[in-house]
Symmetry: C2
């Protein structure tokens, strides 16, 4: 039995200075975790109990789904990650170090390479597959901005599993099997989730879905349609309009548009100086050319221009996802210097993309000094635009895509807005925020090919294995459980992950109170109920209640003045409901309440 008098715990009345979100504040204040360094936390006794319960649910469902548990080192040699180029692609997110002999190591952010090599080491035939192996293990990521306590840490615990199959159909089955296990896990944890289509990003592979837990404090934005479409914002694709016949379109013409460096000022001047007959010009008639600086994992920086309708902002998250593993930021003054042809506020396709390329020179050829130019999917052939004329104070009107200009390619880089049509036609999108709690990938053959994992197939031929990878943020799940289950007084743990079931509070000074409380606590424990007993002799009832509410056990059993009339009080933390129980019934009724609440 845990006793408050000896439990290694100090609750705090004040929020920690660096905490912004409720889960972070409360987990620290209630003595579950403690910061050791930015994004790096120590687990105190109560926190460790919650963590163990979450881990256990994950483990049970992985085992039930046929996963076999293994455990890899966190400290790994460079070579396997070099073979897949992730040593470089991870960029500054990877903790790198050298050992005493100068050999390069990393602290693994995820273990695709090592799992691939292990299976290669042990297995050689299709008969050995399918196989799903997993670990619950400490991972490292040198986040630029660790935040929100456990929600985005630099040392954290993940469950990562990996499936190995010979055929695409096998991969699909293994993927669906893990997906189903994830549904069970998050349901058992009591974590609300939305499964959304996702980008695979640096992980590579063909298909991926995220389990997002909807919450205001989430860093991820996702969309949903009434017809059931769901995707994270990076994965949303834009419905492409049909091309327009341009045979009757007027010729492009350059006009003076003085002092129009912004879309708003351009629309104003267009309507006043160059009005159109049928309707007003709007921002949607303009083509905005956004100059970006992109950097490769090797550190090479260059420019890229994205052309998108003037009524949409560029979305850096979507751009970065589309351009992964490049990093993206707005171009700086220094970036512009080598390009006098870029006239800020008046940039147009004339100096960008294929049309800026000398005759007979293909993209990337020597002599091609043009900046790559990628277009929003809405800029289909035949669409007509007002856009920069590459001279100060001048724009070109009726510039027609396909006829007057082209891009080097298409990019999904414009913001997604509420009300946009879902790509599958299932209705208008709504936007929400969430935290990624799971991510499942069909990696395909990328890792197996890079590391030469092959098995003999039924016909005795060597086949590259196809893989899936499946992650759950275990420490993050603890944070989200706290985030989703609290009120202004403190935490309110779901019983299946609570550090203990019943918080027995002895109030008053009489020995008889403490004797009764201790007896209840012992009898509850004898029946398998997990108890924290607040046995502190000289602490006021007010402080004890505050602590109990902060710590967040599902049930609080108050033993005090009521004893005089033969009762104790059982409170349900989540609802605040209180129940007077006759002393004789206290244990049985409390046990019954806990057992009824606990999942079967």
């Amino acid at each position: 039995m845990l006793r408050m008098s000896t439990l290694f715990l100090r609750t705090l009345r004040e929020d920690p200075a660096d905490a912004e979100v409720a889960s972070h504040k409360l987990l620290v204040r209630a003595g579950y975790i403690r910061r050791a360094a930015p994004g790096i936390y120590t687990w105190l006794p109560l926190g460790l109990k919650v963590l163990a319960k979450v881990e256990n649910i994950v483990r049970e469902e992985m085992d039930a789904a046929g996963g076999q548990e293994v455990h890899f080192p966190a400290l790994l040699p460079r070579e396997p990650y070099e073979a897949t180029n992730r040593w470089t692609e991870y960029g500054p997110n990877l903790f790198r170090l050298a050992d005493r002999k100068g050999a390069d190591y990393l602290l693994a952010p995820t273990h695709e390479e090592m799992f691939t090599l292990l299976v290669k080491d042990l297995y050689s035939s299709y008969k050995d597959l399918p196989l799903t192996i997993y670990q619950i293990q400490t991972k490292y990521r040198d986040e630029a901005r660790p935040r929100a306590g456990l929600l985005r840490g630099r040392e954290f615990i993940m469950k990562d599993s990996y499936s190995f199959d010979v055929t695409d159909e096998g991969l699909e089955a293994s993927y669906q099997n893990q997906r189903q296990a994830y549904v069970k896990i998050f349901s058992r944890l009591g974590l609300e989730y939305v499964i959304v289509q996702a980008q695979s990003g640096a992980m590579g592979g063909s298909k991926s879905e995220e389990f997002l837990s909807p919450t205001e404090v989430g860093e991820d934005t996702f969309v949903r349609s009434p017809g059931g479409y769901a995707a994270n914002v990076e994965a949303v694709t834009t419905p492409v309009p049909a091309a327009i016949d341009w045979s009757d379109a007027p010729a492009a013409h350059v006009e003076d548009t003085p002092n129009t460096p912004t879309i708003a000022s351009l629309v104003d001047v267009a309507n006043s100086a160059h009005p159109r007959a049928d309707r007003e010009w709007t921002a949607a008639d303009t083509l905005k050319n956004v100059v970006l600086a992109v950097t490769t994992p090797e550190g090479d920086r260059s420019l890229l221009v994205v052309g998108l309708p003037g009524n949409r902002e560029a979305d850096m998250t979507r751009l970065e996802a589309a351009l992964s593993p490049l990093t993206v930021e707005p171009a700086t003054e220094d970036d512009f210097k080598p390009y006098p042809q870029l006239v800020k506020g008046y940039i147009g396709p004339g100096v960008l993309g294929p049309q800026a390329r000398p005759e007979g020179i293909a993209r990337g050829d020597e002599g091609d000094t043009a900046i790559p130019y990628l277009l929003d999917p809405r800029v289909v052939p035949g669409t007509r635009w007002i856009t920069g004329a590459n001279e100060p104070g001048r724009h070109v009107f009726e510039l027609t895509a396909g006829r007057d200009f082209e891009g080097d390619g298409v990019i999904e880089g414009a913001e997604v807005r509420a009300g946009d049509e879902a790509p599958d036609g299932s209705g208008p999108l709504e936007l929400a925020r969430g935290v990624e709690i799971g991510h499942i990938f069909q990696l395909g053959r990328k890792y197996a090919a890079a590391l030469d994992l092959k098995v003999l197939d039924v016909n005795g031929k060597q086949q590259v294995v196809t893989m899936g990878s499946y992650g759950i943020g275990v420490t993050r799940a603890v944070a989200l459980l706290a985030e989703n289950n609290h009120d202004e007084l403190g935490l309110r743990w779901p019983i299946q992950v609570a550090p203990f079931h019943v918080h027995v509070v002895a109030t008053g000074k009489d020995d008889s109170v403490f004797e009764a409380a201790e007896r209840f606590a012992k009898e509850l424990e004898a029946q398998g109920i997990e108890v924290l007993y607040d046995d502190r002799p000289k602490v006021s009832p007010g402080v004890k209640f505050k602590d109990a509410e902060l710590l967040g056990a599902p049930y609080i059993l108050v033993v005090g003045r009521g004893l005089e009339t033969g009762t104790a009080e059982l409170k349900t933390r989540a609802t605040g409901a209180a129940l007077e129980l006759p002393v004789a019934d206290v244990v049985a009724r409390t046990v019954a309440a806990v057992r009824a609440a606990l999942p079967a």
Copy 2:
């Protein structure tokens, strides 16, 4: 139930090339672990099961002893380790790295600093103490020579606990409490141990003991006396002889001793050219001056000479322990170059220590160019020696300690030999080899003082807390259990740590055999017995038996030809004993055997 047909396992018939000791060979061959990098291992499913059982025994006894479990990060900031100077003192054994902002971090080899700071953070009064907190956690040490698989790894799991007390008596009680828990843990694990006095080394503190598991493959040497003295070789102290009156001693005299660079050649020439009347000269009459290069954690290298009787070798392990945190190696040619006064093979006190110091110059003063000179405890005042005269081919005889020369201090650097007298007079020492499986320290106030951990005492005065630290090598314990429990066929796990209790082997081709075996396996499992069922249809009985012996379950249940006469065979792996059981009794008798073997 584990099934061989799907278990992620490949047993190997060949020993891995890099393995020297049986535990390493067998744990790899039987598919328990797999090397990921030098001294860094992956745990496969069966290995992880053994590890979990060992961890669980450790956890139960820690909890029973009143310890509270917490969990610290492995990646830690430099500052706390800087405050205790261990950032530097750990030298090349510490994995150091910088994060993306250039801040220094380390992978913790042990967590004294962090535990101290955590208690400082939470506690402030004597009423909060005593406290013992612990973790079971992954640790890192960049060993110069990782070896023997899990026995000396670079990433490994330790249980480390820390006690906090106000008084010395409190520390002693906490220490004894942990010591008793260790006795229980190693007894439950079935690991033989010897508790020996130890040096505290880099850890600091006043008292420490090691739990050594005696084994031929151990790197540690320890001594035992018939009277119960036990110490690791670093901690053995030399009984100091009484000083000898030198008033009647003859004067020292330098003699020609051509071609005597070794002790053996010197003794020969001494006996032939300068014989003594009463007896032959022996190596014990000579004083050997060993020139060492010592390096500080900061990397400063300098010379040191140790004078010891010529019949004893210098023991680098004892020297290094005595000089910690300096590292020690024999001086090289380059080291000798700045010191023409050191004539190799003929070095004597004349150019060393105080007698080599200019008049009026104290050690360490400016102008003191002399090399520090430390003497073996046997070189007491009045002892007379043949030693180098600092000229080629010449030695000085009757050089008398205290009269003719002194050292700058005393050092325990000579080898300990079987038959040496125990320092407590409890008889002659015997030497044995072992592996450290536990180490308990009375740290005292070193860490608390360095990190300012104080609490208010009963009188309201601030007191520096006194601490203990207590470690168990958890992964190392797994290796030792394998090392101590194997034969030429494979592993023989003690049942309390075995990955499963019964290995059911179906031999033959008839469906009836597999049906019976599967039924036994299921019925055993229904009774709580952990089973691995070898259900592979096309594998020969010979291969299955070899695998079963290699994997090392305590019981092997062979289901095959015996079915025709209504029997199956239950083998006890450790003894090789086999028992024919009637089919009807198989499950009950096997359950009974397992339950009888399992500790209560």
